[in-house]
Amino acid sequence: MASLRVRAGRGAEQRDRLAVQNAGSQASDRFPLLVPTTRVVTRKRTRHVYAWKGMLLAGGGMNGRTESMTAAAKLKVSLSLSADVLALVDRDARRGKGSRSSIVEQWLRRAASSSVEQEIGDATAAYYRSLRGEDRTEDESLSRSLSDAARRVARGRAARR
């Protein structure tokens, strides 16, 4: 099994561009229960990061090919899906869009995000529709004064140029 080498950059910019390499024969070859896991970032050292396979499996973790070293911890769950839905998942998997798990996760994330957007949109619309009398007046006068303040900031910047 290939081990994972995480090389830390020297500066802040480099840190964002960590080189993650498959380094061939490493500790996991000698200790098969050790598998590479998430990265550890240190400024000065190159570190090999491992975890016990058993622990990773218990957490439903990243057994098999590890594509992203920054992935959040995963939990293994069992779901029942209708055959037609599973066929759609498998169709995307065949098209190289990822594993079953990652495809289902993408879809769920998209659906959850869309539901949150809807909820926020409804609540925001309800707020603005509910504005009456003094509430609306205050909202408008605050907006105007903030615009004036923004213009003053812009004028100040222009004057400094």
């Binding site: 957007e117 926020i120 605050l142 900031v153 400094r160």
Partner: protein, 117 residues
Amino acid sequence: MTVPVKTGVLRRGFIYLARLDKLRPVLIVSPNVRNDLASDVIVVPCSTRLSAAPTHVRLRRGEGGVSEASVLKCEQIATLHKEDIRLQPLGGALPPKRVLEVERAVLRAIGVPIPLE
């Protein structure tokens, strides 16, 4: 832990009075490095009209030094010139939990789908 009140400088997480439509409390949300070096700061204005909205964060009376229960109107986040702000904070820093609520509400205000609490 109470964060000591600093005077003469504008600090993130503290509430100050700003000259807007009237003298109004504002929460500074810009980072301190910017507050020290730029001539302006990013603020979230406060209102005592306690209307609920996904982008509003409630403050209890006394929190951050506000004299009565208020809301931070994160949809009206703005950049103000330092000259428009009184340098003396109204009180201590807002608790980190409240600041986090503000950050989430600001994100909601710009369309990031942050779930409602």
